[in-house]
Symmetry: C2
Subunit: 355 residues, 2 copies
Amino acid sequence: MVHNFNAGPSILPKEVFEQASQAILNYNNTGLSILEIGHRTPLFQEVMNEAIALIRELMQLDADHEVLFLHGGASTQFFQVPMNLLDEGESAAYLDCGVWGTKAIKEARLFGNVITVASSKDRNYTYIPRGYAIPSDSKYFHFTTNNTIEGTQMHALPDTRVPLIADMSSDILSRTMDFNRFSLIYAGAQKNIGAAGVNLVIVNKNMLGHVKRKLPSMMDYQLHIANGSMLNTPPVFAVYVCMLTLRWLKQQGGVVAIEKVNNKKAALLYDTLDSLPVFKPTVNKEDRSKMNVVFVMDNPDLEKDFLERSKKEGMVGIRGHRSVGGFRVSLYNALPLRSVEALTEMMKDFALQHA
Amino acid sequence: MVHNFNAGPSILPKEVFEQASQAILNYNNTGLSILEIGHRTPLFQEVMNEAIALIRELMQLDADHEVLFLHGGASTQFFQVPMNLLDEGESAAYLDCGVWGTKAIKEARLFGNVITVASSKDRNYTYIPRGYAIPSDSKYFHFTTNNTIEGTQMHALPDTRVPLIADMSSDILSRTMDFNRFSLIYAGAQKNIGAAGVNLVIVNKNMLGHVKRKLPSMMDYQLHIANGSMLNTPPVFAVYVCMLTLRWLKQQGGVVAIEKVNNKKAALLYDTLDSLPVFKPTVNKEDRSKMNVVFVMDNPDLEKDFLERSKKEGMVGIRGHRSVGGFRVSLYNALPLRSVEALTEMMKDFALQHA
């Protein structure tokens, strides 16, 4: 058995793999592959409609919020957000909590004034800053809810009247939240939504249409809304995999139910790490991510042994990001509890051997 | 048996469907789905490397030409091309030969001066203009090699020293051509390259780095080149399907061999249309596309009957684009000759019944 702890692209439900595999051979008994159907046919329009409806339902979105499936990944949103929302001379507030937030700041600077309200760079992004002030005239406040690389997560929303914009790539749909409080949410699909190759954008339509610059059509949220995410040929298969994954999430009981499982998985892993002195979690305790658990070994010489051992036991994707080192274990929605149990059992045994 | 004449997304080889379906369950006996492997693993790096190498080989590209697999579809290239290549105050020449060329012109106007050197709009884009002049100080000359919607195709390259840029979305890899003569080629994958969700860009690197404007990272060809098409998470599965389709094309004997089959398919269909007065091809004879064959019925009242009949015989995707009406039959690389034979037999029978 393989235990897939990849940070993304990452594990998806087994049912999704089975259904997607079948749809490539014969989609819904049409005799056609899902890869060869036209995107303007009812066959695909139904897929897009259901994917959008499931997002609306699972996140309990109100009528002001539009759901888009776009090309380009979250990295495209780093510039598409300010291009659509921030005029030259206007200011936007950004929180600098890790590699992705830093990139978002860099891209936003091409379009307006960027005020970095706080940064945790001083301690290698191992905590979420607190007590910062957000200028009330900021066009919006941008932050990353979960830092995939560094393993931190914001557990409380900022208390401000400035419109909130969040990159939720690595923890969307993993926990309950008042998503209607956000003016814009974006997330690459390849963690909790589906497979790589499509990007979810949720936007409060009242935010749009206010900048003076002319937008390239493919960058214009309003055009994508007017065209139901089909301004051009959408990434058909990637949207289909999203729909299957969202169906699965609904069957599990939705975000409320999966949050309980996610809490259990994270508690089991962090409790194990805290109980074994051989391991050292790197992140401030109250800012620990429930999606990406980052740790090193107390004795770095043991890291190679631990990696070898984990490989032998079918554990995949636990090597830390090259910028952090050590280990990173990702606990996305589709990862079963039994994979965390297998890992923690192995950790205990490893600790015993190296006590 | 289903005959898939879809204009895109469109038919791919049966072997590709089978291999892709299997890879979703268990990729290369890793016990992992192709959808859950990290893009920075050797497992996927090999896929990207092979896809790029196959493009280089099949198109016989020289060392100046870089191959990129990017997000966003050809529609993103409509603005990404001028954003990277055309400074404010500079001019670029465009040929207006159909819906897609018109869109490319609209987007380019956001970045510099656009000179439309010729247009076939006067006759509903049913021909390719000739005898136009391209100003020698144009930064580049942009054209669409094949007009998917209108069914025209450029059968000779323009004779000019101005750098050539082509949207080859619907006829790339279908015919031999000196691809090194182009400064930039782009094509959505969903016709002859693979499945929807990825975009091929081939660029002569000497064209890059000359504009003054600052580019968003995800729009910067030079950054994508430096990062081997992995500046961010690539559309993993879509690239994989490209690699499989390119492998298949190589096995068929490459572009030289497929061109012969494509010529045969197109000749059979056009000869049949020309021999049956009930059908009326809409396009100027010498500009007929070998990829998308557009025709109407001499008696429009018969169109419904013909569509019904074709449906009954398992023909899919022959209804014309809403802007043109009538019928459109797409003959992409993966469409077998026997599908064209089935269609032309049916046409003859239909013509006999309605003589």
